[in-house]
């Protein structure tokens, strides 16, 4: 494998691992805050017990989230140093703000929340719990703003002298629709995952007829929180799809395996491929089987059921009627921009003002497609279609299932019939791994779907890597794989043990 492949593998590995733990932190922190608020309001000891139990699990998960998180911040420098310079002027700021605003808040109040039960007042303790929730969610905000900027770069200007993108509008970056949607969709999905975790573990207690008081109350909190958040997650997901359609049409086409664009485009609700278009296959998608909903894709993308949705073929070859510039033309313009930037630097060094100005003009006219210039074959610009398609459909399908599960759990909880509905308890328990599957699938949709771009249209992944030997990266890849796997096993073992050990959760 080449350097870029090892670097991508390492980033994917570390990010996927980190993302196993983060969503549980994001959501459980709020669930804890809600539970403790009920304790402080009602003064009932059972709620303190409930809060403390989930807090123990939270802390076990939090530690490994922190452990796997540090590498991600430094990896931009260690493995993607060319990227770090090219966009550091924009990307670095959210990361620094994340540290100053969020991480200190999280870590300071975590210590109070965890060790302060008998050291600080009830109110101060409750405030600390809320601060942990707000702090961890704020940290998600800034890194997602940074990620959204890579998917849809705004608020910047390329400075040819420093050869990098420079920030010109902080607010445009923070409030870009991609950033807002990405943040809301991601955190709501994390809340849903956490609610399923609480729901599933509580269901296990009920199946074992243990800690019934704790489990029933936890299920009510989890199902209510989960239901509200799953509705919110579906709404923001729907909006995200429209954003992707506008800003990353190739990713959108890959999500549906759409090769030839069409009006009144149907949505493939369930589908299986025989062959998909890609870097080595310039032919149309071949389906083994598919079930479609008429006009739904057009409606989803534009809110107009008759709208034209471009496919992979339209993007690569262009479509005059729809005003789509072909990737062939974009590659030509990209090459012009790259050559002009070189010329600009040479002329500037030689002190030739008129040449440097002329080069600059050519550069600016073509910069929009700068990244395409690194390629000769437009088919290399197609992301992995099956991976994107299956991840997307898994995520969406499970998202609706989660909502249904919360409704069922809430209905039977309110009727106080949870103990009798063992099928539902089993379903809740088995849904725990599915929550993680959906969450990781969401990450894969976002990150595999945007390939080969690290910064959409401007910087391909292959030109973002550090100038380093691939053996070093290969070694660190395996080190991470071993260390993170061992720590994950330790985490799961400790957590299961804590769950099984709990005995004084009340019998109702």
């Amino acid at each position: 494998m080449a350097l870029v492949d090892w670097s991508r593998a390492q980033f994917a590995l570390t990010a996927l691992y980190h993302w196993l733990f983060v969503p549980l932190t994001l959501g459980t922190s709020f669930i804890l805050a809600i539970m403790e608020t009920i304790y402080v309001k009602t003064g009932k000891e059972i709620w303190k017990k409930i809060t403390k139990f989930w807090m123990t699990l939270f802390a076990i998960n939090f530690a490994i989230g922190v452990a796997t998180g540090i590498i991600l911040e430094f990896e931009f420098g260690t493995n993607w140093s060319n990227y770090s310079w090219f966009v550091g002027d924009i990307f670095g700021a959210p990361l620094a703000i994340e540290g100053i605003m969020a991480f200190f808040m999280e870590s300071t109040f975590f210590a109070v929340m965890f060790f302060g039960w008998d050291k600080v007042s009830k109110r101060f303790h409750l405030t600390s719990t809320w601060m942990v929730a707000i702090g961890s969610n704020l940290s998600a905000l800034w890194i997602l703003v940074a990620n959204a900027w890579m998917q849809h770069p705004v608020g910047m200007h390329f400075n040819p002298v420093t050869a990098r993108n420079e920030m010109v509008d902080f607010w445009a970056i923070l409030f870009s629709p991609t950033a807002v949607n990405k943040f809301l969709h991601t955190i709501s999905s994390a809340y849903v995952l956490s609610a399923i975790f609480v729901l599933g573990v509580s269901a296990w207690f009920l199946l074992k007829k243990r800690n019934i008081a704790l489990a029933k109350r936890s299920m009510v909190v989890a199902a209510t929180f989960g239901l509200i958040m799953s509705i919110f997650m579906i709404i923001t997901g729907d909006e995200s799809a429209r954003q992707v359609f506008k800003t990353q049409p190739m990713k959108f086409a890959a999500l549906e395996g759409l090769y030839y664009g069409e009006t009144n485009a149907p949505l493939v609700a369930i589908g299986f491929f025989n062959k998909t278009p890609g870097p080595t296959n310039p032919n149309a998608t071949e389906w083994a089987a598919k079930f479609e909903i008429p006009n739904m894709l057009s409606y989803m993308a534009t809110l107009n059921p008759h709208a034209f949705i471009p496919g992979i073929h339209d993007l690569i070859h262009g479509n005059k009627a729809q005003n789509i510039i072909s990737y062939y033309d974009r590659i030509k313009m990209g090459k012009l921009a790259i050559a002009a930037l070189k010329e600009f630097h040479l002329a500037k060094k030689a002190g030739n003002d008129s040449s440097s100005q002329a080069a600059l003009k050519t550069f600016e006219a073509n910069y929009k497609y700068f990244g395409y210039g690194y390629y000769n074959d437009p088919y290399k610009l197609i992301p992995n279609v099956p991976l994107t398609f299956y991840s997307f459909h898994t995520m969406v399908g499970l998202g609706f299932w989660f909502m249904l599960l919360f409704i069922l759990a809430l209905v039977f909880a309110l009727k106080d019939k949870l103990l009798q509905k063992r099928w539902l308890l089993y379903l809740a328990l088995w849904t725990i791994p599915l929550a993680w599957l959906a969450s990781e699938a969401g990450w894969m949709v976002a990150e595999f779907g945007r390939q080969p771009w690290v910064v959409q249209d401007y910087m391909p992944t292959l030109s973002a890597v550090s100038n380093i030997d691939s053996t070093s990266v290969m070694i660190t890849f395996f080190l991470f794989a071993v260390v993170f796997t061992v720590l994950l096993i330790a985490e799961i073992k400790i957590m299961l043990n804590q769950i099984k050990q709990l005995k004084d959760g009340g019998h109702e």
Binding site: K52, M55, I60, F62, A63, I64, A67, I70, I71, E73, F74, F76, G77, T78, S81, N82, S84, W85, G88, D89, F91, G92, A93, L95, A96, I97, G99, I100, F104, S107, T108, F109, F110, A111, V112, F115, G116, W117, D118, K119, V120, F124, T162, E166, V168, F170, L341, S466, N467, I468, D469, S472, T476, V483, V486, A490, K493, I494, L496, N497
Partner: protein, 385 residues
């Protein structure tokens, strides 16, 4: 408000923030120092548990300081971030692995069914304490002694050693390696001194405090030897001077000594810092109980001031703060490595939150430290590590 500052003033402001973060980070490394003293100061399981729990309330802040240091460096001096992290790959990877191991160890060490056993997690803590301090200190020294890299016209960085930064600590044929390592070891011993002082402040147990008091002196001697070796060397060595008119970097004899003389405030900060560190050590070793409890504040503040002053010396007064000994003209200065003016201005507004952050950290610490750690608490607290 920040818009009216010159680009250079903003660059200096941000370097000062980086220097301050560096100072806070080195001070907070007392957590790492403490991790190397667990079995020296603790002789029974309960005693070790007390030490671990005393550090366990603070480790996350050290960790966060390191992360924020990285984030702030990325945002304000991205060329430094891309050159150093992408270049000295193995140094940073080893540091990061050491911190990854630390992050789970507190939480997992005493939990049932933890796969690796308490002892392994305690070894992880020791590794983090040793590697984290020595390598971070060594990396700090390279701000004066230089590294092997070059930067192209379009600001792509290349590292010119297959050892990816490890040569800075292991190439014993080069004199500067000894200077680098001396700061690494000085930081290691300092972190153990600070840890001992912190325990004396935080743990209510006479026997353990007495052991900590002895450790202060045991570590003070090697600390002084290594630190003075480093200080004398940088004051006497040739430094990397940046000429703003020609935009060229050249070697200047006694550069860092000149810097201190040209910036008397920095010199004073450095001297006050060193004296405070020594005063804390003196108070802890010879003072009464009340003095001992307060010693950490002197040595801690002294550490922050000393590192702050050293980092200003490395970068201000027309000096290349991240020098290249491979290609002198590739050396990084606060002018050529910084973010754009717009970003520095935006970030400067964010920096206004720092006093607020410090205030709530202080408030929370105070609230938590009202009661010292006792043996009784360890036995009763179900959340204890």
């Amino acid at each position: 408000m920040f818009e009216n500052l010159s680009y250079l003033a903003l660059q200096q402001y941000w370097w000062a923030i980086i220097a301050l973060l560096g100072g806070i980070l080195v001070f907070m490394l007392f957590v790492q120092g403490g991790q190397t003293l667990l079995y020296t100061l603790g002789k029974t399981d309960t005693e070790v548990k007390m030490l671990v729990n005393s550090l366990g309330r603070k480790w996350d802040l050290t960790f966060t300081s390191l992360v924020v240091f990285g984030g702030a460096a990325f945002a304000s001096f991205p060329l430094f971030y891309s050159t150093s992290f992408g270049g000295a790959y193995w140094v940073w990877m080893i540091i990061l692995f050491a911190f990854i191991l630390q992050a789970v160890s507190y939480e997992y060490r005493s939990k049932a069914n933890n796969l690796l056993g308490t002892k392994t997690y305690d070894i992880f803590l020791y590794i983090n304490g040793l590697v984290g301090t020595v390598l971070l200190g060594t990396a700090l020294a390279t701000f004066f002694t230089g590294s092997l890299f070059s930067v192209t016209d379009v600001f792509h960085s290349f590292w010119h050693s297959p050892y990816r930064g490890l040569e800075l600590a292991l190439n014993f044929g080069r004199y500067a390696t000894y200077v680098n390592l001396s700061l690494g070891l000085a930081v290691f011993f300092l972190s153990r001194i600070l840890a001992s002082l912190y325990f004396m402040n935080n743990i209510d147990d006479e026997t353990m405090n007495e052991r900590a008091r002895k450790q202060v002196m045991n570590n003070a001697i090697p600390f002084l030897v290594f630190f003075l070796f480093f200080l004398v060397n940088i004051l006497l060595m040739n430094g990397f001077n940046y000429d703003p008119s020609t935009k060229l970097v050249n070697m200047e004899s006694f550069k860092y000594l000149h810097n201190l003389l040209a910036m008397p405030m920095v010199l004073i900060l450095l001297l006050v810092g060193v004296v405070l560190v020594l005063w804390g050590i003196y108070k802890a070793y010879l003072g009464n109980e009340k003095c001992r409890r307060k010693a950490i504040w002197f040595s801690g503040a002294g550490t922050i001031l000393t590192v702050f002053a050293l980092l200003l010396t490395a970068a201000f007064n027309h000096t290349a703060f991240y020098p290249s000994i491979y290609d002198l003209q590739s050396s990084l200065t606060i002018q050529n490595a910084s973010s754009s003016k717009y970003t520095l201005v935006a970030m400067s507004y964010v920096s206004l939150m720092v006093p607020f952050v410090v205030a709530y950290i202080w408030y929370a610490w105070e609230a938590m430290n009202k009661k010292s750690i006792t043996k009784k608490e360890m036995e009763e607290d179900t959340h204890a590590y």
